[in-house]
């Protein structure tokens, strides 16, 4: 935890161990976890979209990568929980090494990378959405891996890294448009690099053309390709632009799908500003709820021990960036603020599932601050980390629908009772 650069072998071993932990907590009991109405709708939408280009019954206004992936996993793994959720499990687990690698690239600190990997591997909200078919957890992986690849390009100047970054950003955009935010930060950093380059005009022009093709043209091409089944309904590019416009209008004004909300969003946590100042949670009622008992609810709760120190960590990173001219701290703060503040400023309701796109950057700030503080106060940071692991372990149970006395008690202490009341269309 001292922040000293570890050997390559130790770094790889650490990433492998953290990934194994991430996979384990995302897969244990998965086959027995009851599915949610969203899970079922995601499967049906994937089939509809791939077979006929029809983006329903759920989330027509979001990009379509999930449909291609889930359709393929349904073919490969069958129509059960694994077929529906395999990609969420995989990409959720891969977020752990991707974020840890990014933290290492930015800070050079093995301690920060290890802490970040551990926090993400065990975060109950991240675990919850890694075990569901909806694709919010994709946003934890693709943009993070893309930023890491772009940073490798900055360090090595090898073109393949930026091409990879562009492809990953494209897959992120094809998951949800919020991938644009870290893409914008990355583009701004590369633009600054070009502005500081001392090369000839030709060299600078080549760099601009290459960066623009990787960070603008390639993501757009990947994004467009995921709509191919929709084009197969007979549409052209002009129609597609109209479709994108209506998707944008709905996404900008979205207030929940018809008939699924109670007045005033009772029983739901709405508002991105709440995420890091009070307990953040998302409760899903499963299809097993009608039968009562085990697995009626999946209660994903952001680990309060780590989420509630995001703002102090940001303040510390800001101080490092300002007073010490610490570039890593500045970039970490920029990635977090660029991903988060637009969601805070959005007028329409934002639900906690959207936090998955911000979480790796928020936890990166926390890990950065913890690693630095750990060098000065190792016992204090060790105790905090132990508390975070304990809270993550206890809250794993409600996130997976398993009833335990301690997990239930903690969940009910953090989540208001009306979150467990039925919503319109659900059995009481």
């Amino acid at each position: 935890m001292t922040g000293a650069a570890p050997s390559r072998r130790r770094l790889v071993a650490g990433l492998v161990a953290l990934t194994a932990l991430g996979i384990a907590v995302r897969t244990v009991h998965l086959g027995d976890q009851p599915v949610t109405p969203d899970d079922a709708d995601v499967g049906q939408t994937a089939r509809n979209f791939v077979e006929t280009g029809w983006p329903e019954p759920t989330m027509w206004n979001h990009p379509r990568l999930r449909d291609a992936l889930v359709d393929a996993s349904l073919d490969a793994l069958g129509r059960g929980p694994w077929g529906l959720k395999a990609w969420s499990v995989l990409l959720g687990a891969l977020t752990v090494p991707a974020a840890a690698w990014l933290a290492f690239l930015l800070t050079g600190s093995g301690g920060a990378a290890a802490i970040l990997g551990l926090l993400l591997a065990l975060d109950p909200l991240h675990v919850d959405f890694s075990r569901q078919a909806i694709n919010d957890v994709y946003l934890g992986f693709f943009p993070v891996a893309a930023v890491a690849a772009a940073w490798r390009y900055r360090a090595t100047r090898r073109t393949g890294w930026l091409v990879l970054a562009g492809a990953l950003f494209g897959l992120g955009l094809a998951s949800k448009w919020s991938a644009l935010l870290p893409l914008a930060v990355t583009a701004a950093v590369l633009a600054r690099d070009v502005a500081r380059t001392r090369g000839s005009a030709r060299e600078r022009s080549a760099e601009v053309a290459f960066a623009a093709s990787c960070l603008v043209v390639l993501p757009l091409a990947v994004y467009l390709a995921t709509f191919l089944p929709w084009f197969g309904r007979g549409y052209g590019l002009t129609d597609w632009l109209g479709f994108q416009r209506s998707m944008a209008v709905e996404t900008a004004t979205h207030v929940g799908y018809a008939g699924t909300k109670r007045p005033g969003y009772a029983g739901e946590l709405v508002g991105a500003w709440r995420w890091f100042v009070s307990p953040a949670w998302y409760v899903d009622r499963t299809l097993a709820a009608d039968r009562g008992g085990e697995g009626a609810f999946l209660v994903g709760i952001g680990n309060p021990v780590t989420w509630l120190v995001v703002w102090p960590s940001l303040a510390y990173a800001g101080w490092c960036a300002w007073r010490r001219r610490d570039a890593a701290a500045a970039i970490l703060a920029a990635l977090f603020l660029a991903s988060y503040l637009p969601l805070v400023a959005t007028a329409r309701p934002i639900w906690t599932n959207t936090a998955l796109a911000v979480l790796p950057f928020a936890m990166a700030l926390v890990a950065f601050a913890a690693a630095r503080l750990g060098a000065l106060r190792p016992r204090l940071v060790g105790a905090w980390l132990a508390a975070a692991v304990l809270a993550g372990a206890l809250l794993w149970f409600p996130a997976t629908g398993i009833r335990t006395a301690a997990g239930d008690r903690l969940a009910h202490a953090l989540v208001p009772d009306d979150a467990f009341a039925p919503r319109p269309g659900e059995a009481p």
Binding site: W54, P55, R202, A221, A225, G234, Y235, D239, V249
Partner: protein, 239 residues
């Protein structure tokens, strides 16, 4: 210099890839538009007659048409709206939408979902249109004009209008005429009227019944089918 050349080559390659993706998308869309190839029994005609809208969709599917604009002339739309929750503009299936489970209420939804139709233009008589426009005024996805409402959501554009405000689709269209559309207007004029509006008919179908039709309207539908020389078709459904 070599590094710059490599970067320019990458940039050119990526731009070419993107252009290929765009061209492929357009090509996939165009090649998915499949029109009606009239069999000899049609004698060159492009009108058929079936019992109801469900049979119409089955007939289009059996004919292999796909990705077509759909023009619907009808006096009804979906289920009645409740004040708390306006009816969705895309009619929900009442009894499933696989071809062997269609009914007259679910048929147009199935035509959309299965890709038979890629956009829909619905012309309605004044009373039915007034109801439709009243519902559209409360819906956030609707643009409402003088005698029309358009709904671009769900990646499936729909437009409802008076007959006078019917907008001709850009390429040959499937046409469905339901009896509830047939008020006092002379039925034999419909074919010519559609052509005057700029609608190119790929395969038109007259339905002899719909849930909102009166006996007099059913009789007019029969007369319309006769006047158009519509070919009676029946699609065998495996049950």
């Amino acid at each position: 210099m070599r590094a710059s050349n490599a970067r320019l080559a990458w940039a050119a390659g990526i731009v070419l890839l993107a252009a290929a993706a765009a061209a492929s998308s357009e090509a996939v869309g165009r090649s998915a538009r499949r029109g009606f190839d009239p069999p000899p029994e049609f004698g060159g005609k492009r009108w058929a007659v079936v019992p109801d809208a469900a049979e119409a969709v089955r007939a289009w599917m059996a004919a292999g048409v796909h990705g077509r604009p759909l023009v619907v002339l009808t006096g009804r739309w979906g289920r009645p709206a409740s004040p708390a929750q306006p009816a969705l503009v895309v009619a929900r299936p009442q009894s499933g939408d696989s071809p062997d489970l269609l009914d007259a209420d679910s048929a147009l939804f199935a035509a959309a979902r299965l890709g038979v139709a890629r956009e829909m233009h619905v012309a309605m008589p004044p009373a039915a249109l007034a109801l439709r426009l009243a519902e559209a005024r409360g819906a956030k996805d609707a643009r409402v004009g003088d005698g029309w409402a358009s709904h671009p959501y769900h990646g499936y554009p729909r437009r409802f209008s008076s007959p006078a405000a019917l907008r001709a689709p850009p390429d040959p269209a499937l046409v469905l005429v339901e009896p509830s559309f047939l008020e006092a207007a002379g039925p034999a004029a419909i074919d010519a009227w559609l052509r005057d509006r700029g609608v190119i008919i790929d395969l038109g179908i007259v339905a002899l019944d719909d849930p909102a039709a009166s006996d007099a309207q059913r009789e007019r539908a029969r007369a319309l089918a006769e006047a158009l020389g519509a070919v009676a078709v029946e699609v065998e459904v495996e049950r």
